[in-house]
């Protein structure tokens, strides 16, 4: 998953980014003003946008309206120092999916981010199930019939992304774009390594979970 944070308090943005990387395993990009934020939001495919309301150059509400008017579908979590009803209503009406008032709890921000991403992918349960495998997005663990399967951080990220879109064909580029921050092109040849690692750890001889569609990408599903 890849998240964009637009927050002009550099320290706060970095703390949130660190948290999202460490405890959710997301790829995170940070922008510190509205102009950069808008540019990044329009040029990259994100799974979540964390947006501060008071920003230099272009304010959060304007950015949000612009991004939504150009058809961006990803969920948006707004950070605000105001908690007046009016501004909250205006935010939600402009296309925000959720909001947090400063000072917020980082744990809550993590949980809300995960929930928003789930919803954005059409999932509602925090535990994703594929055949007899359970993926717990809360603590980033994978189990088969209650027994934990040890995965590397990147293997987990690939699996989590695929599991959010079961039955859909996910291209290698899409995986790269969503699993890495803006430097993703450097990692273009490693996806195959993670896929084969996952196959080795998850699949038996008789069940195939990750299917390769030549020239198109990968698909997670039974059969």
């Amino acid at each position: 998953m890849r998240v964009l944070i637009v927050e002009d308090e550099r320290r706060l943005a970095e703390n949130i980014a660190r948290s999202l990387r460490e405890s959710a395993g997301y790829a995170v990009d940070c922008c510190f003003d509205g102009e950069d934020g808008l540019h990044m939001a329009e040029t990259n495919p994100y799974d979540l946008l964390v947006l501060d309301l008071m920003l230099p150059k272009i304010d959060g509400l304007t950015l949000l309206t612009r991004v939504r008017s150009r058809g961006a579908q990803y969920p948006v979590l707004v950070l605000t120092a105001r908690d007046e009803k009016q501004s909250v209503v205006a935010l939600l009406n402009a296309g925000a999916d959720d909001y947090l008032c400063k000072p917020f709890d980082l744990g809550e921000l993590m949980a809300r981010s995960k929930a928003l991403i789930r919803r954005g992918k059409g999932q509602s349960a925090a535990v994703l199930k594929i055949a007899d495998i359970e993926i717990s997005t809360a603590d980033l663990t994978v189990r088969r019939q209650g027994k934990p399967i040890p995965l590397t951080a990147m293997e987990y990220r690939v699996l989590e992304y695929l599991a959010h879109r079961p039955g859909a064909v996910v291209s290698k580029t899409e995986l790269l774009e969503h699993l890495y921050d803006f430097n993703w092109e450097r990692f273009s040849n490693v996806i195959e390594v993670y896929i084969s690692g996952l196959r080795r750890k998850l699949e038996h001889d008789d069940t195939k979970l990750i299917h390769t569609l030549r020239g198109q990408g990968y698909m997670l599903g039974v059969g």
């Binding site: 002009d8 308090e9 550099r10 320290r11 706060l12 703390n15 949130i16 660190r18 948290s19 460490e22 405890s23 510190f32 003003d33 008071m54 230099p56 150059k57 950070l79 120092a81 105001r82 008032c101 400063k102 000072p103 917020f104 709890d105 980082l106 744990g107």
Partner: protein, 469 residues
């Protein structure tokens, strides 16, 4: 239980009591004088009758004339239903005429009139003495004198007085029936502006500061000063209250971001086990965040004190200080930053400029302004601080050689949270409050800050502090 004294009730009672007293007075005076008049009239009627009786005494036609009484010409009694009494005697005491049933009455010795009861009636008797017998030749002196007594029931007088009493009492009662409600209505009507004012004053609360006394109370001569005083007092209270509330709201709001930063720093540190180096770095970050928070708190408290002092709700004994020394303190404070950026701060003044102020307030202002100047001026240039006197003001000019502020942005730089651009926001660490607070502090002293900027040349901040606040 609240006090139950009512102005309206008391006034109404006073009006009713005074009307009753007036009615009683009218009653007493009218009855007294009428009674006197009626008695006088009755007395003269008695006198007339007595004279008539005397006139009916004449000499007989005999050779030796004796006094006789012409009984058949006695006039009818004064009161038709009752008998009048009379008696006439000559100087020897011989009774010449006497009505039937003359009682033996002790006539008063020192008054011609005597009151007595006879056959259950009040009678009044008149005694006339030395009445000469009229039946004689003209110019002949009288030889015989009569004593005439005449009595008649005083009934007409008492009856008239009783009737009069009834009429006057009835009239008064009737009048009171009209005037009392009229007075009550008039009083209530007259007191309505006061009641309206009181009712309106009762509606005042911390959410409703509007005194709406209505045109009647406003145009009432006695109430006008009160409504005016109340309105101006309310206005002052509302301003003080709003200021306090705004400050509290702003303070809470402005603390949110730094607290959010500090909180996120500590929480992300605790998110998973870390090496001692990571913890150390995290704690240093947290301390750094704390320092920014502390600086903000300090500024806000300075601002609150200055605003309270300006609003008159805080007493401060301000000593006379030299403007130059406060500038020097601020320059010292910023010298590490200036060194780091290779900026030289140059202070110039001719002679001390004494002002009455709290040095810490002014140091805060200079620090904020100088910090901006030092950050925006290019490396290896100078920031100039010039002090001089201008009439009643001490003037401090802080000039940098920075990129300047666009003219359209100039009026907005003192707004809370205003940030010229990204870099400024992050570097100053001031949350966009420094200039807003500086302006408020300077204005609390009755001074002013004027920004002058030329893009590409630099920015000058001209601060005037009145010498006597």
């Amino acid at each position: 239980m609240m006090a139950t004294n009512s102005i309206a009730r008391r006034l109404i009672v006073a009006v009713i009591v005074s009307q009753l007293l007036l009615a009683a007075g009218v009653f007493v005076v009218a009855v007294y004088f009428t009674h006197r008049q009626l008695v006088a009239a009755f007395n003269s009627a008695l006198q007339g009758r007595a004279m008539s009786i005397a006139a009916l005494v004449h000499y007989s036609e005999d050779e030796k004339p004796t006094l006789e009484f012409q009984q058949d010409l006695v006039p009818p009694p004064l009161e038709a239903a009752h008998q009048d009494l009379y008696k006439a005697t000559d100087q020897t005491g011989r009774i010449i005429a006497q009505s039937a049933g003359w009682p033996t009455v002790l006539m008063s010795a020192n008054s011609p009139y005597t009151d007595f009861d006879w056959h259950g009636e009040h009678y009044r008797a008149l005694r006339l003495t030395h009445v000469p017998v009229l039946d004689r030749e003209a110019a002949t002196p009288a030889s015989d004198f009569l004593t005439v007594e005449y009595a008649s029931p005083i009934l007409p007088v008492t009856r008239a007085v009783a009737r009069l009493r009834l009429y006057i009492a009835g009239g008064c009662a009737l009048l009171l029936c009209v005037t009392v409600p009229l007075a009550i209505w008039g009083l209530r009507r007259g007191l309505r502006p006061l009641e309206d004012l009181a009712a309106n004053a009762a509606l005042i609360s911390t959410s409703n500061w509007e005194l709406n006394p209505g045109s009647e109370a406003m145009s009432t001569e006695e109430l006008a000063p009160l409504t005016k005083a109340m309105s101006s007092m309310l206005d002052g209270l509302r301003r003080a209250f709003t200021q306090q509330r705004e400050f509290l709201a702003n303070a809470a709001h402005e603390l949110k971001t730094p607290v959010a930063i500090l909180k996120s720093t500590l929480q992300s540190l605790l998110q998973r086990p870390r090496s001692s180096e990571e913890y150390r770095a995290g704690l240093e970050q947290a301390l750094d965040d704390m320092a920014r928070l502390e600086k903000l708190l300090h500024s806000m408290l300075r601002l609150a004190r200055a605003e309270q002092w300006a609003a008159g709700s805080l007493q401060r004994d301000l000593a006379e200080i030299d403007l130059r020394s406060t500038c020097d303190t601020a320059v010292d404070f910023l010298s590490p930053l200036a060194r780091e950026r290779g900026v030289h701060i140059q202070v110039s003044s001719n002679g001390p400029i004494p002002v009455r102020a709290d040095p810490e307030d002014l140091e805060l202002v200079w620090t904020n302004l100088l910090e901006n100047a030092v950050r925006f001026t290019p490396h290896h240039t100078s920031v100039l601080v010039r002090l001089h006197s201008d009439g009643d003001c001490g003037v401090v000019e802080i000039a940098d050689a920075g990129p300047g502020i666009p003219a359209d942005e100039l009026p907005r730089i003192f707004e809370r949270f205003h940030r010229g651009d990204t870099s400024r926001a992050r570097d100053t660490g001031g949350y966009g409050l420094g200039l807003a607070i500086s302006k408020a502090v300077v204005e609390a002293y009755g001074g002013s800050i004027t920004p002058k900027s030329e893009p590409g040349v630099g920015t000058r901040m001209i601060v005037c502090i009145p010498k006597q606040s």
